[in-house]
Amino acid sequence: MKRYSVFAIAREALRYHSGWEKAWRSPEPKAQYDAIVVGAGGHGLATAYYLGKNHGITNVAIIEKGWLGGGNTGRNTTIIRSNYLQDSSAAIYEKARSLYETMSQDLNYNVMFSPRGVMMLAQTHHEVRGYLRTAHANALQGIATEFITPQRVKELCPILNIDGPRYPVLGALWQPRGGTGRHDAVAWGYARACSAMGMDIIQNCEVKGVRSENGQVTGVDTTKGFIGTKKLGMVVAGHSGQLAEMAGFRLPIEAVALQALVSEPIKPCMDVVVMANTVHGYMSQSDKGEMVIGGGTDGFNNYTQRGSFHHIEETLRALVETFPIISRLKMLRQWGGIVDMTGDRSPIISKTPLGNCFINCGWGTGGFKAIPGSGWAMAELMAKGEPGPLAEAFNMWRFKEGQFIDESVAAGVAH
């Protein structure tokens, strides 16, 4: 792999950039691998990367139905944060966040991690108490967060209307080292690094069946034929249920649509990520200048990658109230993705009823921020056959015994 640097660019500029090599190879599949990862999104590629980097397993194929990074990795609002409440969530998201800090250097690919800070607005007293609880939990989890005053909120984000008549801002949970990254670059950076380790990324190759013998996985049938493997990792958000069915088990998952949108680009006016959960909306400004906006999920099973438009309207009315200056901007593009929702809205990184077959799914609406941590934990699980401390709580059997990892811990409101 030729290193990327400003000098390489200068050298190539002189010959009109004719000397750049392919970022990743596009090989045909071999007959047999030590491990196959199904799904070349961020999570799948990160899994493969850490299989190689942390565990020395490089005879790996990453099989992708479409184009790499084309699922939710390329459709999200690129927020990175780890200010979670529950210990297990905080651990894996903080692992991920800390890996994002050095990802550009580790991968020699600029993923533009921008620790500009993430604030979650508290707009009711109930929310204030909830975020104070998270701040206390984070203090014990080693995650730098702080509950800040409305005045500090306004300083950090001057375009915020903190005195809205309806939901004045009472404070915010602030994670200064949270931020954003360039989503496509994460997939491309991992892909380039995996390819450089000798791994095969096989795009436009759909898995049609999972084969096993004596309860152990032996390989997958694909549109490019049978490919044998000793270990199989399924990392296919949105289509986990289909793949699980091929492997003979059912998941506690529903696939629903999640939507996002961007405005036309304007000059920089917002240097933090703001999430307003009372009114359901969040927004940041991309390096291109677009306001990147997301909201809530639909409430029904849907594989079309198209959501219901009223959710976009709900999000925008919330954000116009919160950020009055966006009213005259224009929505440039809206899109949807398919997200896996589990029974407790937390992910699954788990062994499965099928031997040597592992699954990583259920990231719901929060997958992008977890990519490196998720890959790290999944690689450990696949390499050792048993979960490490990061993955342990996320096993798929926790529901049966009621051992929830519930981040949506706000039951009703008070009397």
């Binding site: 289509h239 249920g241 289909q242 059912r250 998941l251 506690p252 998952i253 529903e254 696939a255 639909d298 409430g299 029904f300 099973n301 849907n302 594989y303 079309t304 219901s308 438009f309 009223h310 029974g343 529901f399 049966k400 015994e401």
Partner: protein, 115 residues
Amino acid sequence: MLTLECPYCGVKADETELAPGYEAHLKRFGPGSSPEEFEAYMFARKNPKGVHFERWRHAYGCGKWFLAARCTATLEVFGTYPAQVSEPPADIIKKIQARRPEWKSGWQPDGKGTK
């Protein structure tokens, strides 16, 4: 943006007049049931890419829950019917079969069901 006809009041309801309720025809397992039965009832969800039976409430209307047979891959609606049944009515099954001859998945929790 779905429209579903409420079988109780006959209104072709806009999605915004409805509240979704996920999988239909679940059988409740209470005290005395096995962990597997209870887990299946609470969590294991049919999440088909294709024909699905689901619950909707005409929340901004007559307030009644009803059931819909819908394709999750195309959003085609095969029909809606009242909730007071433990399996899809025969005419709905027939409509699905007419539109999806290849349809095999059953509606029962164990994957079996009328075909």
